[in-house]
Symmetry: C2
Subunit: 279 residues, 2 copies
């Protein structure tokens, strides 16, 4: 299946060179799992997109229109990945945005990555993610930190790299969020200075709260990682994966998985589940 | 004059949606003044591009080819602006770069902005530029900090905004570098955590050294800005502009301009001047 792309509702595969996403990374994106012709965790994706618009001072998208075009693009797709862009649109050279701003929406449907679920092997990235509280948490198009970190390894036996912030605190994986388990407690790094607040991360937090489990969002150190009973990584495509190894530390895969993790995995790829505060 | 664009040597105006510059801002750019069909400060632009390739782990461009295409694009242009992109090229979804990487070169020629030289009025931006030593100094395509800062004002009487780093130190303008003059001494902020090492900034530093003037590259505070005898802003298009006002502080425009500033202005738009260590 070749990728299919809708730009502002029209089948196309190219953007103008004056698109601000290309000039400056001036925009946002969402990576959405598509199952049975429907996007998963749609409300959570739309909520994060809205937070991004607020932080970048972009107009909000027409969510009903995005949903309609998503369903049009995903018709007939049993399993796929849709990348949705909401950009600042076209403009002449220069950082100044045009008035009025005309955002562009771009939907790209790709094949589901063939990857069998299995416990992950992690490495520690040398490259540290930069500090910028204003951009932390949202999924904007300035992703050089993640690109540089991902370029550190070619070994396919390594599934993901763990990134520290400039001060050494653990932030996330290059493309996933991170959870530590100690006893029954779950911990995930706070994303106050860097990182992306993943939709599955939000789902874990939501489910834990609903079930009365303690989940701490706080500073996490390398030592915390090494001493945890179990680690988990999450994103919209993998759902949640357990970690077998981080550098020289192996985790006991015989230990039962945290109930919230199992519950998250069971619902995150079910398009009939409505996330975003209404579970 | 409509913009003219060469992508990998071919006249075109569109990029594929899988271009990594659009997906992640995975690439570099240069904004080059074109005078009498020739690019100005070419060697300095190419040197900064090379530093950027080193920092982003991108292959180096074929500079002779870039120059040839630049002259082809700029034939007949008395005065213009050429934006040159050197990107990580196309790839499937995901931060991982393809092997082999095939960078794309994009040259875009636009009209010279009609702007009369005049002392600038500056404001202080509320948005602070993020910290990332690895990306500091180079001209990469992740420019949301500058876009957000530039969106703070619409008043055409304000020419530029001054940006602080997260710790409050002065970094630069949104699109220009900054020089302070105190007596005969010139000072420019160090760019160890943020900012772009401008080609005209490099020229000022080079000329000052050649002429035996003291130039300090160091931490600069808001107080330093307010107490300076004179301020100057520089970039490849404006060359150097004097500052009339920064917020509520006016500077004495009757004071003679620093000799190095005058010298920089005299050579920065002369395409026959070879910069980059060989002046």
């Amino acid at each position: 299946m070749p990728d299919a792309v809708l730009i502002d509702g029209v089948l196309s595969d190219s953007a103008c060179l004056d698109e601000r996403a290309l000039q400056f990374g001036d925009g946002l994106f969402e990576t959405v799992a598509v199952v049975d012709q429907q996007p998963c965790l749609w409300e959570a994706h739309m909520q994060r997109l809205a937070r991004g618009c607020h932080q970048l001072h972009l107009p909000l998208p027409d969510v009903a229109q995005l949903r309609k075009e998503t369903e049009e693009l995903c018709a007939g797709t049993v399993r796929g990945v849709m990348k949705l862009y909401w950009t600042a649109g076209r403009s002449v050279r220069g950082y100044r945005r045009p008035q009025p701003l005309r955002p562009q929406r771009m939907l790209r449907l790709s094949e589901w990555p063939v990857r069998q679920p299995k416990p992950w092997h992690l490495r520690l990235c040398t490259h540290r993610v930069g500090d910028q509280p204003v951009l932390a948490g949202i999924k904007h198009l300035n992703r050089l930190d993640q690109v540089i970190a991902r370029a550190e390894w070619q070994d396919d036996a390594v599934d993901e790299g763990v990134m520290q912030g400039l001060d050494g605190r653990i932030v996330s994986g290059t493309m996933s969020n991170l959870f530590l388990q100690t006893g029954e407690q779950l911990i995930t790094p706070s994303l106050d200075r860097a990182g992306v607040a993943g939709v599955v991360r939000e789902l874990v937090i939501e489910l834990a709260a609903a079930d009365g489990y303690r989940i701490d969002i706080r500073d996490v150190t390398l030592k915390d990682l090494r001493q945890a009973d179990a680690l988990y990584m999450s994103n919209a495509l993998i759902g949640v994966e357990r970690v077998a190894r981080f550098e020289d530390v192996g985790y006991d895969l015989g230990m039962a998985e945290h109930p919230v993790v199992a519950q998250t995995r069971a619902v995150c790829h079910r398009p009939d589940v409505v996330s975003g505060g209404s579970l």
